[in-house]
Structures are given as structure tokens and as C-alpha cells.
Symmetry: C2
Amino acid sequence: MSSIDLNNIPSIDLETFQHESIFKQNNKYWFFEKSDDSFPGQAFGLQIVQILYHTKSPFQDILIFESLNFGNVLVLNGIIQCTEKDEFAYQELITHLPIMSHPNPKKVLVIGGGDCGVIRELIKHVEIGTVESITMVEIDDMVIKLSTKFLPEMAKFHNHPKVNLIIDDGFKFLKTTTEKFDIIITDSSDPEGPAEEFFQISYFKLLFNALHSQGIVIMQSSENIWLNLSYLKNLLKKAKTIFKNVKYSQCYMPSYTSGSLGLVIATNDESKQLMSPLRKFKPSLEAELFKYYNSKVHESSFVLPMWAQNELKN
Amino acid sequence: MSSIDLNNIPSIDLETFQHESIFKQNNKYWFFEKSDDSFPGQAFGLQIVQILYHTKSPFQDILIFESLNFGNVLVLNGIIQCTEKDEFAYQELITHLPIMSHPNPKKVLVIGGGDCGVIRELIKHVEIGTVESITMVEIDDMVIKLSTKFLPEMAKFHNHPKVNLIIDDGFKFLKTTTEKFDIIITDSSDPEGPAEEFFQISYFKLLFNALHSQGIVIMQSSENIWLNLSYLKNLLKKAKTIFKNVKYSQCYMPSYTSGSLGLVIATNDESKQLMSPLRKFKPSLEAELFKYYNSKVHESSFVLPMWAQNELKN
């Protein structure tokens, strides 16, 4: 682990703090998410109460701030990764879509996921008795450590006995591992940064090799239908060169660009109906376990507006 | 109509133009949508290419600009009403949800809708031979006139022979009309401004009185589940004091706050299944008519995340 003393974090003065994503307007400080490369011409703003932490790790620029209405916010390379207000939407969907589509998901691998939100969701299935082991491979231990401090509800199970935490490059790990998994969740940042290689055919091949024949993989697409449909189409095409059964799902949440983020879910089992859950919990258990997900949310996450559906189908 | 010469609009210099929603950063001009009252602490930004028009009408501040990636944008009182990029999502859902849930929608009333996007969608059903007459009551003729100039694709049917355009307060119109409609669509701006009275029980009563017994009303809620769930709950409660069958639907689009906007749909016919279309077109006709809507989009628009569903159910 990096040498950072979480009990002794120096306070940061907003007045003098300089960051290209932060500006002052009418005596208020705003974090302003914009990217000339990824989403030119549009931006999302969150008002800042205080800066909690800022550093440049060996891998990325890490900024954590307290927002006025979205709780604490984790930003990597200027892009919001999660906010305490709406993180559950993404964490639940990317976790429970594959888990509830698999008859018996025992061994799960998480690539990335440093905020540990996916682990929190997986532990629900450990407690039910379905998932037996979780391996998480995160390249940047700073993100994990800072999440335990500033996103404690997300990271609360980072040291759960069923979790095997490996600090390494997920790509490298997959190249060398001889293990096979039932579910592999790629919870990475966007392609601009250390996660670049996760969006290539070579990565889908590595996923395929580390997967049981009935296994399911899921990854965040880094895009949404409003932003870059041709990129999505291309990403799905890459996945289809390796997996026989590839589907596209959408998660709706305010803190991601355009209010939604696409997920690519794939398996080599052609008979598997990924778009509706294989296993369903009764409503009372759903209400106890989930805040975003339920079986209807699972199904409707695959329903796309007409034009996007037609574009991605071809 | 207001005396504005659409062929002779003076150009506006961005450098010297002053508007509280516009600021300059790194030599770029941004429209920055924020509201301390309606959605404190969060903001949406669109980069401006040029200001096309600005005026204060007797009813509201009207700003129209060309954005870098969202086409032309109509802003009323600092709040985005529509952008050319994604307007079809909202216009289609608010129109086709009630029209496709009604067995025989002949007479339609639109309250508000000055950009004429809802009329464009209704004309599709005129051309099919279902809808026979459209009455639109818009308080601010400046919005209509400017839309014909700057949002020509949206406003292209503003003078269609089946459209009866009335420049008046929708609330007043409903108080005095003796007509009965099959569908009433309230396509208003938010409660802060001239549309305030559209979100009260007294308005639901007026809608009820102007509706055939099998009729359906729909309105934009001005909110979404991430922003103000208790307000939505209260709005649905108000609707339920008048209508026996009230449902809540969501439209997902990047230019509305939090990436989604709620719609309230209601009828006094308890047997009507509003959440799935009564009439379905075959896929080829759907693909021809619609860019956002189809029968699956209809159904999934009513599926809410677990926590929101539970909150609104009670």
C-alpha cells in the first residue's frame, strides 16, 4: 500500500487550490467535468463544499471533494468515477446483471473497481451463500486506500475475508492467471488513462480465456448512446469477435455524462438469455438487498430508444 | 403575433453579450444551467457557438443559441427547454404514450408546447388517419414564432390545417372551454414562471372537466427521481385526488437535469393499462415513424429503480 497517513491528511484551502476542473463563480466553487476529446461541448457541474484530497498517483490524477448535494465525489483524470448520491445505480447494475443471469456464480473476478463498490454488491451474494470467492485486481492502491477514508459506505468490505485483493495491472493478471471464473466484472475508468487496453479485442480474448464455458463478463463501455454510437457499435463488434452472445445495457444516473452509461455484457453460451434474469428473488428480498436493481430494471436496462437500437443491431 | 421581423434579426456579439447563465472560460463561452431553487449544487453546461436571439417577452426570458454539439437550444428563464440533438426523446414520449394507450384518439388538446414539437409528433397520427383535430393553447406567441425560425424541424407543422392555434393562458382556456378532448398534453415549462398553476389540484380538475370519460392526460412533472422524490410523490398525490388511474413515466435524455424527466399520465378509466400500449404498430412502421418511442420503450419508461418505485408507491 502507498505510504499515506489517512489519519493525518492536510486540509486544502479552496481559495488557493489550483485544478483545471475547478473554477469560481459568484463566490461559489464548481467542479466542472468537461473533455474536448470524449464529450466536446457539454459539461456537468457539481458545487464544491471542500476539497478532501488531491494527488497525482503514478497512474492518474486523483481528486476527492465534498459536493453540496452529491456527497463525496471521486474524480480520476478529471472524470467523475462515483458520487455518494448515485453510485449505487452503477455498482448494482454492473454487479447484479451478470450474477442474476448465471445459474451458480461461485467465483468472481473484478478488474479495477478500486472504490470497492462492486465488492460491496458482491458480498450480498456471499451472504446469501451463492458467491464463494472474490478476486479483485486494481492497479492503483491509492484509490482503494482513499475510498476507505472518503467513501466508507462503498469501501466497507474491502478487507472482507472472501475478498482476495491484488494490486496489479488487470491486463497483466489475466495474461498469467490459470484460474477460471464464473463472472468477470471490468469496473475500469475510461480509455483515456491506465484503462486504455481494456477496450481492445486482445482484452476480450484474455477475458474469454479466464472464463468457465458458462461464464459471463461485463464491462463499462465508457460511452453512452447519445455521445458516441459508432464507438459503441465498434466496441460491440470487437466483443462479438470473441463471444457468441453480446448485449448492451444502460444504467441511468445523473453524475455520468449524458445521464447514462452503457454496459457490455457477454458470454459464449448462446442459449443464455442475458436480457432477463435467470434467477429472480421475491420482491421482499429484492427490496431488502437492492436500491437500484430488480428484475424489471434488469430487463428494461436493455431497452434502447428506436434509433439507437437500430444502429447497434446492424 | 408579436411584431418581430424574423428576416431581419440583429446579430449579437458574444464578447459583449451579458446573461447570468453565460460565462467565458479559456476563451470558450458556456451556457451554464443552474438553479439554487430547483437543483442546487448541480449544473449542466453547453458550449456556445453563437447567440441567435435573446429577449424578455411579457412572460419570460427567452434565449436561443447555437451550441457546439447539441444544435440550436431554446432556453426559458435560464432552463433548457429543448435542444435539436435530443428533443425528439421528450416530444415522442409525451405524445405517443397517451396516443398509443387510447383506442381511438380523435381530438387532442396541447397546453403549452410553443416549440411545436408535440404537434409534429401528433401530425404523424393525423397522417395515419387516427387523430382528427389538434388544438394548441400557448401563452407566449414569441416562443412559437422564434421556433419556426430557429427550430424549423420541430416547428414545421405549426400551421398545419388540422392545428387550431390559440394564443392564450391554458389555465384560462380550460376554465371557459365547453369542448371535450380524448387526449390532453400539458407541455409546459417548469413551475417557476408562467406555468406555476399547472402543477396544482385545481389544474387537474380543469383537465378532468375537459376530458371524455375514456380520455387520457399527460404532463411533464418538472422533476426527476434523483432530484426531488417527495415533490413527485406529492404531485402524484394531487393527480390521484382527481383521477382514478395515475402513473409515472421517465424520459431519458442528456439535456434535462440529471439526464431524465418525469411524466405524469392519468385517466379516470381504471381498466386502462397505461403502462403498456393498447395499440401496437408493427416494427417496420415503428421504425418509420419514431426515433425514440416504440412499444418496448413505452413499457420500460414506467420501470423505476427499486428505491424510487417503493417511495412513489406509498
